[in-house]
Amino acid sequence: MALIDWKADMVRCERCSNCKWVPWQKGPGQEFAQVCPSISKHNFHAYSGAGRYHSALAYVTDKIGYTDGWLDIIYHCQMCGACDITCKTNRDMEPQEMLLALRAQCVEDGQLIPQLMEVMEGLKDEDNMMKSKKADRGNWAKGLKVKDLTKEKAEVVYHAGCRISFDEGLHKVARTAISVLQKAGVDVGIFGKEEACCGGRSYEMGYQGEIEKFSEHNADMYKKAGVKKMIVSCSDCYHCFKVLYHKIGRKLDIEVIHITEYLAQLIKEGKLKFSKNIPLRVTYHDPCHLGRLGEDWIPWKGVEKKVMGQLCLHDPPKVFRRGKYGIYDAPREILRSIPGVKLTEMKRIEEYSFCCGAGGGCIDSFPDYSLWAAQERITEAKTTGAEAMVTACGWCERNFSDAVNETGDALKIYDIIELVEQAI
């Protein structure tokens, strides 16, 4: 839907500010009560979900035009979905969809920010979001004995994603995933340097055309390879393959599974057993795209209708995605099943988790702001007494690791697969 199609939501946003806070029923006190990194950092109301509704309303009613200041507001947002879910604990509205439409409108109108243009050039030329050479994409798998799906058949494709493929510090995540899957007897293969971007991050940056190309290309590859399932370690990729492809009408005809779901299932079936004790106090960070944004897309096409005078309904009835069905339990089940690991929770968890800071292109466009958000989360993690923060997304791990390195913090950062491997 175009930006103007969200005008009713813009007008009906009453400025309650729930988009800024952890749901009240969860009892946030003085500390860690804010849920949106953008307003937490910048403080002006325009940097909140409601504030973006109001500036967008001003734009569609010709009260304001594009300025550098407005673009700064629009792009200082991780698109993490926190405002979307906390709004939807109360309202039948779609803040995240409006934010996506707002960025798409900016791109359509040529209102771009240079840092993201650079990333997009890389995507167009080299099929990745890391400004790296496509030829290097498969380097993470060097020396691994794993099926090459361009030449062999396998039941499962493991998709490493741009971040993990090109970030040498994260190669261990993909290599360990392959190793663990193979030990569990999974028939898994990879596309190596032929793997392409999912298209998800560019979509969230406002470049919504790119995903069409990548979804078509990827679907074609999976079909030719004959794979039946996809396993991903990256939560951004998971969200894109599972949710965004469905949203744009290109739902994959293979099952998309995050590795935490798969591992939890293997543990439950007794196919994955842990023999080593890992005495470690950990806390778990819910990645936005695995948690609140990770629930299935629910297609809906229809119109708004009024009943009881002015009660706003939808015809046919619309089911809203409210973050209830994200992947929250699987990673926790894995951690609880590792001998010696003691899980302590932060205040902001599950559907009201605080973003790592890397999303929405912020890690590229505003790295200082991105790191600030990560440091906020690390501060929260440390209050639990944890020695390590565990996550399930390469973007989160990278941003947290950089934040820890910058501050010299002792908190360890792990992808969940690393602890799994240590415990096997």
Partner: protein, 525 residues
């Protein structure tokens, strides 16, 4: 008229470049809030406040606020401070005004358990405050706008009714020591704070300034900036932490062992109000207020669709004359006594607690959240249509509230019949029964309109205006929405001892250069 560069630089020097903005997109955020058109009586097609702020500032301490006010006086600028900004009266409404967003002043300074009060800054939200106070076995007065709103703003400058008012009264009755930056930039420490540095009282030495500072309605930012206040606390009968289950969008509370949540109902306004007299006489509830059927139905459902399906079943309409109650005992004996009292009152007044309604998922829990801190209000009155306004609100006796309830039905009826508002039944909220109704009772006939629907909004504007006259004619007391700003004052003041003249004198005396935005209060004499 944009700020002169000299004025801008002077303000920037105070708060720093990162805490001041003239960006138009930023200003849009400070010019939008619900119910603008009926409250401001502006055209239905105009979604924003008629005057946008020239700049927005984020002061970080009282010294910065003082300096800002001095700059305003020097350069002929007005300021308008707000806490969380959830009301048209909290936003800038006059030309040549700057908004002071108090978000950076967000600390709970001190919870004094022994003397049962808490000292807070402007951006402490009601929900946060509640969570921190119950850790000490205490609870604050909570207001109807709910947990996201500023406790300081309500206590110092804006209205103050809420579901717990039956015990905790009105915000104006809970305020103690005040740190107040006058429009001139001078610092006034009111009450005991000025005398001894202690926060325990708003009054003295000498005549109290509390009435001048806020009166009943509040000055809505027109008399300077309140930077720290103390408010009373009350005993809390539950544990030191709120627990809940479930995930978005409905979280069910774990209702504490010695607390109960009930939606009671009667067959008529008169029976319900008779029960209110008995409830207040018995002084037996933790919280209690009038439960609007559609509102409660919305609070207990996950979506408008689910609410509509519930409405079709007729359960809510059967309980249209309802009054929500939360009981809270500090001992087993106390809660048993409260339950027994409620049972007797229901028997004597023909009331009931509908088992079918109680079985609706989240019904009991949403009533509890509402009474705890105004929780679920957004589901209750915004999810359905997007906005609401009121017809002839009043604050007087229970009898007056009863009269106001009939008047509300009468005023809203024709519009509801035409489908211009949500078609609910007997939608009068309130009956807040301040201090067991010993100092009055509040009522708000609510109508939910769609701000995106021009005809619905036009109706909301018209009824808002007509209600002022109706409230006067029918004598239901000086209300809330009908009593803000110059236009309303000109209609109501002649019928109420010309109170407006005194407000104008106060404004002139305290703000000789009109350095605080008079919108929402009054112009100086």
């Amino acid at each position: 008229m944009a700020l002169t560069r000299e004025a801008y630089r002077a303000l920037e020097d105070i708060v720093g470049p990162e805490n001041i903005s003239e960006e138009p997109a930023n200003m849009a955020g400070y010019a939008y809030v619900f119910m603008v058109q009926p409250y401001m009586q502006t055209p239905a097609e105009e979604y924003f406040m008629p005057a946008w702020p020239e700049a927005a500032l984020l002061p970080g301490c009282v010294e910065e606020v003082q300096a800002i006010q001095r700059v305003c006086n020097k350069f002929g600028i007005k300021s308008h401070a707000f806490g969380t900004g959830w009301f048209p009266g909290s936003l800038a409404g006059s030309p040549n005004t700057i908004s002071l967003d108090m978000r950076r002043m967000n600390r709970i300074i001190e919870i004094d358990e022994k003397n049962m009060h808490v000292v807070i800054e402007p951006y402490v939200a009601v929900g946060q405050l509640h969570v921190e106070c119950i850790k000490k076995g205490l609870r604050p007065h909570v207001i109807g706008p709910g947990p996201t709103t500023s406790s300081l703003a309500s206590h110092a400058a804006c209205c103050g009714m809420g579901p717990s008012s039956i015990n905790t009264s009105h915000s104006s009755r809970n305020i103690l020591g005040v740190e107040w930056v006058l429009p001139t930039g001078e610092l006034l420490r009111m009450g005991s704070l000025g005398q001894s540095g202690e926060w325990f009282s708003a009054d003295g030495p000498g005549p109290s300034l509390r009435g001048i500072m806020r009166g009943y309605m509040g000055s809505f930012g027109a008399l300077g900036v309140f930077t720290r206040i103390a408010i009373k606390l009350y005993p809390w009968p539950g544990p030191d932490k709120h627990e809940s289950t479930g995930r978005s969008p409905c979280y069910d509370p774990v209702i504490p062992e010695r607390m109960r949540s009930y939606i009671c109902a009667w067959k008529s306004w008169d029976d319900m109000h008779e029960a209110q007299y008995m409830i207040t006489e018995a002084e037996m509830t933790y919280s209690g207020d009038r439960a609007v059927a559609a509102w409660h139905g919305a609070m207990m459902t996950e979506s408008n669709q689910e609410f509509y399906e519930l409405w079709q079943k007729g359960i809510l309409q059967k309980n249209a004359f309802a009054f929500g109650i939360v009981l809270g005992g500090h001992t087993d004996g106390e809660i048993a006594y409260q339950e027994k009292c409620l049972k007797v009152i229901l028997e004597k007044t023909g009331g009931w607690i509908d088992e079918e309604l109680e079985k609706v998922p989240h019904a009991v829990g949403s009533n509890y959240w509402w009474h705890l801190w105004g929780g679920e209000i957004i589901k209750g009155i915004f999810r359905g249509t997007g906005s609401f306004f009121c017809a002839a609100t009043g604050d007087d006796t229970i009898d007056s509230a009863c009269l106001g309830s009939y008047l509300g039905d009468k005023l809203m009826g024709p519009y509801i019949d035409q489908g211009l508002f949500l078609q609910e039944v007997h939608n009068v909220w309130g009956s807040n029964l301040y201090e067991q109704a010993t100092i009055g009772s509040h009522h708000e006939p609510l109508y939910q309109y769609d701000p995106f629907d021009i005809e619905s909004t036009k109706a909301a504007i018209k009824l808002g205006f007509d209600s002022v006259g109706a409230a006067i004619t029918e004598g239901v007391g000086l209300g809330f929405f009908e009593n803000a700003g110059e236009m309303a004052h000109s209609m109501t003041s002649p019928h109420a001892h010309g109170f407006h003249k005194y407000m104008k004198k106060i404004k002139r005396t305290f703000d000789p250069n009109t350095a605080s935005d008079p919108h929402g209060y009054c112009e100086p004499e």
